[in-house]
């Protein structure tokens, strides 16, 4: 094994060891560090005295250097890890005292060796130990100096450099430089004492540099790895002061400090005690308060001085002293356990206040009592009790059954008294029925439905769900009652499945019966309706057929209407033309005739004596013609007027009309005897003036055509003609040939010559038109030279 390998192993041990230390628990770690540092210190000077390793020809490292280097590296790491002034202080103190020990030890040994030459014939040992003393003193001083330097420089660097890598590298440089300085200073001092040993001990500046670099590497790594621990460090002036301050003063200071802490704590607790929202009383064994807080005074209505002089047990209500809770609490206290009991305590004003009293043994003979005023809670509890009483009352007055049913145990938990009305069983009966209650009471059919459909619903129901079902249950008297339940989940088991249901049960028997009856009636009604509907459908079908027919008819009618409208329009036009024509005839056609007749007459009047007789006759004929023409116009206008004249059908008496007509026609009959016979003429409906015109024309004709007959007779009457009744005017005049009867009533038709019977041929046309307008019929019967009968019918009065 080469020297270099051995050297390497040693450095490795020195470097790794502090790392191992750093992983330890705090207390152990500190102890480890101090032991290692002590060992290094103890062996450092000694090793330096006994060997030196030539690394190369020019580099030599002494054992002392190795030990002190390791010491420095370890101490620096330790300080950096602990971040505590006391660590540095302790390290420095350790270095100091160990070195003092070493100096004494070496001095003693070297003194002994000096005197005992036997043991050391060459006296080299003496030299070694003497130099060790020197080295130890020097080394110790340098260590302390260097530690200060490290801390100082590190602080300064840390303040200025935030990058941990830069900081670590710089710090390593410092470490190496300081150790090298050591390598310069130490020989400079040591040479003056023993030049022989220098080569062994020092190993040269280059050796120092080599060693320092080797030791700095673990520190470098450490700084990078544990850089988070470097956040705060020492305050140097404080450190210096701390180093030299006397331990006694520090102790006094610490006691004072503790005292202050205690006072602060006492103050805190006192404040807590006084301001607590619960009442606190500390009692002695005789139940006399030693200490009470404000709240306790408030609760009990005493001031603290009064309260401190009262036996607390005497405040407890007599009844409460007899209670089970109280006795149990006393038992607990005797065993040294804490208790909590509710008491009524008498206040100063004599009222009792409900409190919850927690008692705990503080120490021998002292009891801590905590009082909570529970008036509010009691009030709420009472209110709750009232509410419950109200609920119970309400439930029992409800006609519906209110119940709670446990679906797991299948028993009735609660029922109000209405159950007795609905099912005939008392509440106790129901609750004693056990877990077969539903099966026993429910109708078997309904029970199947219940088990199959309702029960599964409970399992999946949410709290707000309402489950409704109808079923029958047997009344105590054996009747089946129809019931309607509305239920919801009342209580659940720990894992959430339903346990109890709350239900409201209504007796709907009457309703169901009514509904059944209604349904039956409804069915009957529906049957009837169906029957009627069918009948109606048939009718509708018929109606539709009829409608179709009507539709066709309507179409026909419409087309007829259209053509009728056209015809009507044409008729209107024609009528308007006729009116204009009539007007013109009436006004203009007569004037010329009047002129003809008038001037003919004037001619006769003024020049009659100068006109030949034949001419006079011609003038007469002119006059006659004009007058005939005038008559014709008058008759024609009368005929045309019939179409436009207003026409009113009223009750008329033909007998009266005939009487009037005969009177008017008297002048016509002058000159010949006519026997006129008027028969019975029943009243009828007609327009009096027009019917009068009919009689004028017919009687006028009869008179005219009997003018040349002997024993002329005219019969005016009413009677059976064939199978109908008709009015008639009969004469025994000239009559006419029935061959021409169809022309008789046409206008301007004449069956006799004007020579024999004057006339215009309009009279019968007028008769026909008037009768037609009355809705009657006119016809004639005649025989030439024997006479003629003119018949006409008029609507009878009752026909309207």
């Amino acid at each position: 094994m080469s020297v270099l390998t051995l050297f390497g192993i040693q450095i490795l041990i020195f470097a790794v060891f502090p790392f191992f230390m750093a992983t330890l628990r705090k207390g152990l770690r500190a102890a480890g560090f101090y032991i290692i540092i002590s060992i290094y210190l103890l062996i450092g000077g000694f090793l330096g005295s006994i060997y030196s390793l030539p690394v190369t020809e020019t580099i030599t490292i002494s054992g002392g250097n190795l030990a002190y280097g390791a010491l420095m590296a370890t101490a620096v790491l330790f300080v950096l890890i602990e971040k505590d002034i006391s660590v540095l202080r302790n390290v420095i103190r350790l270095v100091f005292w160990v070195n003092v020990f070493k100096v004494l030890f070496f001095t003693t040994i070297s003194w002994a060796l000096q005197n005992e030459a036997v043991l050391n014939p060459n006296n080299t040992a003496f030299a070694v130990f003497r130099s060790s003393v020197l080295f130890t003193i020097l080394g110790g001083a340098l260590i302390i100096l260097e530690l200060f330097l490290f801390v100082l420089i590190f602080e300064q660097l840390k303040k200025r450099i935030s990058n941990i890598f830069v900081l670590a590298i710089l710090y390593n440089l410092v470490f190496v430089l300081v150790l090298c300085l050591d390598g310069v200073l130490f020989p400079a001092i040591a040479f003056t004492f023993n030049p022989q040993l220098v080569a062994i001990v020092i190993g040269g500046v280059r050796g120092k540099l080599f060693m320092a670099t080797a030791y700095s590497i673990p520190i470098l790594i450490f700084l990078v790895v544990f850089h988070k621990r470097l956040t705060e460090f020492v305050d140097l002036p404080l450190l210096l002061k701390d180093l030299w301050s006397a331990p006694k003063e520090a102790l006094i200071e610490e006691i004072q400090h503790k005292q202050q802490e205690l006072e602060k704590s006492e103050k805190n607790y006192r404040t807590l005690f006084e301001e607590s929202t619960v009442g606190i009383m500390v009692l002695n064994e005789q139940n006399i308060p030693i200490d009470v807080n404000k709240r306790a005074c408030e609760i009990l209505g005493y001031n603290s001085a009064e309260l401190l002089s009262i036996n607390a047990a005497s405040l407890i209500h007599e009844e409460d002293l007899e209670s089970k809770d109280h006795h149990a609490a006393m038992e607990h206290l005797r065993k040294g356990e804490s208790t909590q009991v509710e008491y009524r305590l008498r206040k100063k004003d004599g009222d009792y206040v409900p409190v919850e009293l927690s008692t705990k043994i503080l120490d021998e003979g002292r009891f801590l009592n905590v009082l909570r005023d529970i008036s509010e809670r009691k009030r709420i509890e009472n209110a709750l009790r009232d509410t419950q009483a109200f609920n119970v009352k309400m439930l029992n007055t409800s006609p519906d059954v209110v119940y709670v049913y446990d679906i797991v145990d299948q028993v009735n938990i609660y029922s109000n008294v209405s159950i007795a009305t609905v099912l005939g069983y008392s509440v106790d009966d129901i609750q004693s029925m056990g877990n077969t209650i539903v099966k026993d009471l429910m109708h078997p059919d309904d029970f199947q439905t219940y088990a199959a459909e309702v029960v599964p619903k409970y399992q999946v129901a949410a709290d707000d769900d309402l489950i409704e079902h109808q079923y029958r249950m047997r009344h105590k008297n054996g009747e089946w009652r129809w019931l309607l339940s509305r239920e919801s989940i009342f209580l659940r088991q720990a894992h959430g499945s339903p346990r109890q249901i709350f239900g409201l049960l209504t007796d709907i028997t009457e309703r169901v019966q009514a509904t059944d009856k209604l349904a039956q009636q409804q069915e009957e009604l529906e049957l009837t309706i169906a029957k009627r509907t069918r009948a109606l459908a048939d009718q509708v079908a018929e109606r539709e057929e009829l409608n179709d027919a009507l539709g066709n008819l309507l179409e026909d009618f419409q087309s007829a209407y259209v053509s009728l409208e056209n015809t009507t329009n044409q008729l209107y036009d024609a009528n308007a033309e006729l009116k204009a024509f009539t007007y013109s005839v009436s006004h203009d056609l007569r004037a010329p005739l009047r002129a003809v007749d008038g001037f003919s007459q004037i001619l006769l009047e003024d020049y009659g004596d100068q006109i030949p007789e034949a001419a006079v006759r011609y003038l007469d004929k002119i006059s006659e013609g004009a007058q005939h023409m005038g008559q014709l116009i008058t008759d024609l206008l009368a005929l045309s007027r019939l179409g436009r004249q207003e026409f009113q059908k009223k009750h008329i008496e033909p007998a009266l009309i005939v009487e009037q007509v005969l009177k008017e026609l008297e002048s016509e009959m002058a000159g010949h005897e006519i026997e006129i016979e008027v028969g019975k003429l029943p009243a009828c409906l007609g327009d009096a003036p027009l019917i009068k015109q009919v009689y004028i024309n017919l009687i006028g004709n009869a008179i005219k055509f009997t003018a040349q007959s002997k024993d002329a007779a005219i019969q005016i009457g009413w009677g059976d003609v064939g199978d109908e009744k008709a009015y008639y005017v009969k004469d025994n005049g000239v009559g006419f040939d029935m061959e021409y009867a169809d022309k008789l009533f046409d206008v301007f038709q004449r069956l006799h010559s004007v020579e024999h019977f004057e006339g215009t041929g309009v009279g019968l046309a007028i008769v026909k038109r008037i009768i037609r307008r009355h809705g009657g019929r006119v016809w004639a019967d005649a025989e030439t030279d024997k006479g003629s009968v003119f018949y006409f019918t008029l609507p009878e009065e009752n026909e309207v």
Binding site: Y583, R594, G598, G630
Partner: protein, 147 residues
């Protein structure tokens, strides 16, 4: 026909033959001493209301009777009648409708408008003369007008 003369009869007639026959009939019965003839409705209105050609006439001296034909040029006889009978100054003048028409609507309207008589001119000259005579007699001699 002097304007100052008190005219007894106003004859409104467009047909000269009828006019002549009427005048002859009146004359025959000595009733023609004061007759004024106008030949259409417009002229008749001017005469009666003293306008136009007759602006100088005094409306306070109306004819004693007006013989009015219905079928007239320009303004019909019925319109003339209506104006006479709706004007408070003239409504008291007797109006005799003297016309060929025996049509019921004409007669009805005439009376509705306030005609005092409705006479159908007969074609027979004798009858015509008689009618005119009676009109003259009644309205000029027998009838007592207002005032």
């Amino acid at each position: 026909m002097s304007e100052t003369k008190n005219e007894h009869i106003l004859l409104v007639e467009d047909n000269p033959n009828d006019e002549e026959l009427t005048l002859r009939a009146l004359h025959k019965h000595n009733l023609t001493n004061s007759i004024h003839v106008v030949r259409d409705g417009a002229q008749a209105l001017e005469y009666i209301f003293c306008k136009g050609e007759y602006a100088d006439r005094n409306i306070a001296k109306p004819p004693k009777v007006i013989l009015l034909d219905l079928k007239l040029p320009k303004v019909s006889g019925l319109e003339v009648l209506e104006q006479i009978k709706t004007d408070i100054r003239t409504q008291s003048i007797p109006v005799v409708v003297l016309t060929s028409s025996d049509q019921h609507p004409d007669i009805q309207k005439s009376y509705n408008l306030g005609a005092n008589s409705y006479i159908v001119k007969p074609i027979d000259f004798e009858q015509f003369t008689e009618s005119v005579r009676q009109i003259g007699l009644y309205w000029l001699l027998l009838n007592q007008p207002i005032g």
